[in-house]
Symmetry: C2
Subunit: 334 residues, 2 copies
DNA sequence: GTGAAAGCGCTAACAT
DNA sequence: ATGTTAGCGCTTTCAC
């Protein structure tokens, strides 16, 4: 492996000149530049990034903490992250945390270990423990998708409460009075916000929310299926079910079909996220579209800004959602 | 930020002793060890990984080249990679290449730039150009999922030809004689192998493959939908359609439904991959199950072995597939 | 068992 | 415009 010294010898210049030619070409004379570049080429020289990063204390690596990479929504977010990171010349260190705090904490530590410049956290958890900070400030971090209530860092989120309210109002407008809700995992602010929006809409319509119509899920197809089972067994069955993501809605639809009921004629079903499969379900799913890739893109932009001390246009971005009405929801028949 | 020197001072030892305590604890005396560890704790010391890697010429980073992270199958593969990498103490540098060779080449170069120890390529393309190798041998690389015919590195693959043959035989056994095939993108060995398996089965059954029953797709829902449109317009319509992945099968099913036909009564549809959605379609999809996570796990194991010069049990792993028969395929009615 | 010291490849301050 | 040189934080001989 050739190094900068070998190139310097070949070009008959000093290592400093080689370094300058590569970093700030306009500061060396055209003909030395040419000679150096020729030597670089001849030697097949590639700067040792380890040395560069070590020396300059910048890695251009970003740690991305993703709760579940197999989740279609997060896969889209990561696409956006990847795209922007590449454009900025940053690399992505991916960690599929499965929501395990110790894994998140461990990976976040890579910033302290000078292995990465910052962290993008896609879950509502601060991976930097007070204790491990040793009095230093919070390293560059951005919290996107599911954000902490009092995030100590920039955030990119959706108005989940308003979105859930919009969906519930859509169902109410179709005449549904008993609307089941399949929630996400406990303790998640995202889920809490969506429940609040759902209840807002009901109360505004003069309907007192019935806690027995809420079922817990975990954003998987299976959990949607299981929760729907519970809802179908309810003595006073709902006429519509709002699921907190599309996977659970798809699971629920299958369960409803298996019970010999039709969607939407007997039960309306709505999802959240608008994953690609939502449009290809039978029936196509009414859902809330989120700009998944944009979460990722903005997260990178903000993180780079924070880590390079550039001005941040706004610390808390809220991205728009869209109610997408397809065929899985219809007017209630009496 | 504290460094090894500060810890050495605190403990009243030399930096060498601190380094030894951390790397090879059993070579220092118990009570120095204790003092050093206490100092490490007190200083909140974390080794600078940049320096460690620079010095030891090992990064424990792996570059993963994935054609499309939003593809559910690859998301599962990455899960497996992530899991094993973590277990081995390696980190994953993810690159969503979208099949662009220049991006793959650029990321693979990170190995030469000492930013990663090896590359896992999930597509049939060698990102190390002869020219850029400058006479050096191929860096540690493993090729999984879709593998090169004459891969210059270890591979993990599926017997795609046998799998496609098994699926086609299943359809033949149901009485289907005209079987459409929705292929993947041009030039992919994986697609070529699956076409070969499909043709093997037909010929064995005494049926000459009809090229007009082959349609090109690109593994997306949309492309399955579009290809099905073409197949439905065929003057002598197929009674079954075999799709080279589940997404295209789901797209095709929707198109068939929109044409007023039923699956499987009018047309049988089969997929490939057994993604989670396959079991939750309507009707549930007959498909070929692949151990997606295992591709990732084995890829990491093999790459680590190659990069650490450990013996490799076998250079070309072939993982098993399974024909999963669900409700989207049925006997042809005449 | 421990310390002194060289040096990994590069950048940047300073000198020319 | 270019060269000289110190040093980033760590590991690893080589002495003792």
């Amino acid at each position: 492996m050739s190094n900068i010294r070998k190139v310097a010898e070949l070009a008959g210049v000093s290592v400093a000149t080689v370094s300058r030619t590569l970093k700030t070409p306009d500061v060396v004379s055209p003909d030395t530049r040419e000679r150096v570049l020729a030597a670089v080429d001849k030697a097949g020289y590639r700067p040792n990034l380890m040395a560069v990063q070590f020396r300059s204390r910048k890695t251009r690596n970003l740690v991305v903490l993703v709760p579940a990479i197999a989740n279609v929504f997060f896969a889209r977010v990561i696409s956006g992250i990847q795209e922007k990171a590449q454009a900025f010349g940053y690399r992505v260190l991916l960690c599929n945390t499965l929501g395990r705090e110790e894994v998140e904490t461990e990976y976040a530590e890579l910033v302290h270990a000078h292995q990465a410049d910052g962290v993008i956290q896609l879950r509502a958890f601060n991976p930097f423990q007070e204790a491990s900070l040793h009095g230093e400030g919070l390293p560059p971090m951005v919290n996107a998708c599911e954000v902490l209530d009092d995030a100590p860092c920039p955030t990119i989120s959706l108005d989940n409460r308003a979105a859930a309210r919009a969906m519930t109002e859509h169902l109410l407008s179709l005449g549904h009075q008993r609307i089941g809700l399949i929630k996400g995992p406990q303790g998640s602010p995202l889920t809490r916000e969506r429940i609040a929006g759902y209840e807002d809409a009901l109360r505004c319509a003069g309907i007192e929310p019935d806690p027995s119509l809420l079922c817990r899920g975990n954003f998987s197809l299976q959990s949607g299926y299981a929760a729907a089972t519970a809802l179908l067994e309810h003595p006073d069955r709902p006429t519509a079910i709002f699921c907190e993501n599309d996977e659970m809605a798809i699971g629920a639809i299958q369960r409803i079909r298996q019970a010999g009921l039709r969607v939407p004629q007997d039960i309306s079903v709505a999802g959240f996220d608008d994953i690609s499969f939502a449009a290809y379900c039978d029936p196509p799913l009414t859902t809330i579209a989120q700009p998944a890739e944009d979460f990722g893109r903005h997260a990178v932009e903000m993180l780079v800004a924070v880590s390079e001390n550039l001005p941040l246009p706004s610390r808390h971005l809220v991205l728009p959602f869209e109610l997408v009405i397809r065929a899985s929801t219809a007017a209630v028949v009496r």
